[in-house]
Homo-oligomer: 421 residues x 2
């Protein structure tokens, strides 16, 4: 049964989520997994209704002139619903972090202290476009004993309503509170603003989307934020780099999926290596369809390259464009990355163990690679089995976030009358 | 040598701190400990100058009519300087968390992934009154490979300048960058505001002080914040509570040091227990000098008790006042605590194992006690050897924060040309 409380949509749903979070945190792994299985089942039962609702979003999107790329992100079909269902079944198989005892000790005075993993409470996700995030976020939060408030974009509104209704119908058949999953249907700026300050009911806010969204959340929100996202990632080709490794890593990091945060946006090349192999590498990028904007040295040797500005070096293109700069040595590369990078994923191609160590230690980023593609920064690639997002901040979790990132800790202390002297 | 850069004080010192943080994160444990020892030595060498400077703060404070309690917090003497020095020597003995490998695995494709502890970078502390926080914060940050920006209060300005100059003179004799410790001398609101948004140079901001300061920081800051502090802590006396344990724990939690965040501010008593033992317990509190404000039932039986308002139940008195409320059972106690508490430290006195479990699981706080005083929530009492503060938020660290709370993590990934398929 849903409870009814008066107030604005955000206030009301915030309060319901908070209530439910106090029930959620007592649910067993078994109860939570059963509920996840029910959600998977219900998604298949209601797939036609979901696809119908999605069609409305696509029609609205076309009317509003959304690009084909965005329409494709919004689009749901049987295959994509099956993919959501498969992801839920994988999630069921993952260990439940809640309840894990992280520390346990008995003090001289007899106090028994345990540090246990507990759910965060209420997680709020603010996200753009893709409706599969709705199901992903809801199921990851339920698995970790949290309640969740979902605030998707207007472009996927009908799909999100259909998906969350479906989740609610599934939860009705389980021991989990239906109110543990809340969708804010009003997608105006006002509801986002209200969520930014809903400290009473929200324990953590996770924005997922473009740089503009994340910047807005970080600037405005007074609730704690888990910052995910923007990746101005570099590959630095060192003096001693093996040509073949440089070529395949750079091509992969740039072109395998240019629209994602762990794709490379900028290429730094040590000048001696550049003089010997640079033209060949850049032509290889051009052959792969990449547009090159570079510094003077690059433009001089490469027909078709355009000059790069300071701003270009700070830009996450998310497309087949790369900025290229020639540097004196690994130190200049590191300084450039620490200045222009977004602290996401950074790679060095080198055969020099000392430069590799220097790069690993001095580059300030979640994930630093030696002789491998930046594209591996991903919860699944790291083997975490699930991913809430990639944290680019330094608190709580850094890099790909698996289920433990959706938990906090609590000290359980048992005594028999101990007082402090 | 100090570097010189143009700009506002906050901008300039922020930049210097950031520069230094890239040097600090490479320093070995030995280098850092040597520097700490030098700081301890220099504090003793300069103790007279420091006490002289402190006298100016005390004189200014008296002129401004500061209370004796606050003047005592500001006051430095030989003994207190010796206490700072002793704390540094204890810090030297603690293990350095930086470099610890938290996870390590090799993927099927041969990628070797290590998750290592690394410094946060630049820590900014905004704090009130006590000048020993200046030395504490600086040495804790240096031990963990961070640079630190200190912004104390105007009432300890001269003391803080003397202490940081002393630290700088000590660092001149070491391999650590002098600029790793920055003091913002301008204690106007403008510098605090500027620090709240100095995202480019600050990795985490830790406010230490009263509720007003912390609320301001949480509301305003766009840099990541580690929230420490306010504690509206409860003791709940359950139906089955042992009288002697209830008496000694309540007295200890309320009176042993009423001005600190883990002191009890509110007492909840199960009604049957109250009918039998309540008056005796409350008189025992009165005998210990505690002023009681309570609900109707309390006021009815206890001469000298005043009526409590809703606001009183939400108040952190930090003095010898306690609010008292009679509740039906453990569930009502838990609901009251989750509504009025600040999620700091909460205790139940009970002989009922089921109610103990319920309380431990359902109360939403950093540290939940069964039959022991809330006063134990403390880094030293827990055995962490140092304390940056007590986190009352759920991200990163929760409860007493030791040295690991001043670190982040980074993935070190080594390959031989792996690309993503």
């Amino acid at each position: 049964m849903k409870q009814h409380i008066a107030g604005s949509e955000v206030q009301t749903k915030g309060k319901l989520a908070k209530f439910s979070s106090y029930l959620m945190n007592l649910k067993t792994t078994e109860e939570k997994n059963e509920a996840l299985a029910k959600i998977a089942e219900q998604l298949l039962l209601e797939k036609e209704e979901i696809i119908e609702a999605n069609k409305k979003d696509l029609e609205n999107g076309k009317k509003q002139g959304l690009s084909d790329a965005i329409l494709d992100r919004i689009m749901l079909n049987e295959q994509r619903i099956q993919a959501m269902v498969d992801a839920i079944h994988q999630l069921i198989e993952l260990p439940d972090p809640v309840g894990e005892v992280l520390e346990s000790f008995t003090k001289e005075n007899g106090l028994q202290i345990e540090k246990r993993r507990v759910p965060l409470g209420v997680v709020c996700m603010i996200y753009e476009a893709r409706p599969n995030v709705t199901v992903d976020a809801a199921t990851l939060c339920l698995k970790t004993g949290n309640a969740v408030i979902l605030r998707g974009s207007s472009s996927a509104k009908e799909s999100n309503i259909a998906l969350v209704s479906c989740i609610h119908r599934a939860l009705e058949k389980t021991s989990l509170p239906v109110d543990a999953v809340q969708l804010i249907e009003d997608t105006s700026h006002e509801t986002a603003s209200e969520l930014f300050h809903l400290k009473e009911y929200i324990d953590v806010l996770i924005p997922r989307g473009g740089k503009k969204l994340i910047d807005l959340v970080v600037r405005e929100a007074s609730v704690p934020v888990l910052e995910t996202g923007a990746g101005n990632c570099h590959v630095y080709v060192d003096q001693s780099a093996d040509y073949d490794i440089a070529d395949k890593v750079v091509i992969n990091a740039k072109t395998q999926r240019p629209s994602v945060c762990n794709a490379a946006e900028s290429l730094l090349i040590q000048e001696d290596w550049f003089n010997e192999h640079g033209k060949k590498l850049l032509e290889s990028l051009q052959d792969a369809g990449v547009k090159i904007i570079g510094d003077e040295k690059v433009c001089k040797v490469l027909p078709g390259a355009s000059p790069a500005t300071e701003e270009d070096y700070a830009t996450e293109f998310l497309s087949l464009t790369i900025s290229v700069k020639i540097v004196k040595d690994v130190d200049e590369a590191i300084d450039h990355i620490n200045h222009f990078g977004t602290k996401h994923s950074e790679a060095i191609i080198t055969n020099d163990e000392r430069n590799a160590e220097k790069f690993l230690n001095r580059v300030d980023a979640t994930s630093v690679y030696v002789n491998a593609s930046t594209r591996f920064t991903d919860g699944f690639e790291f083997g975490y089995g699930a991913e809430i997002g990639i944290s680019t901040q330094k608190l709580h979790a850094r890099g790909p976030m698996g289920l433990p990132a959706l938990t906090s800790t609590k000290y359980y202390i048992r005594g028999n009358g101990q007082i402090r002297g």
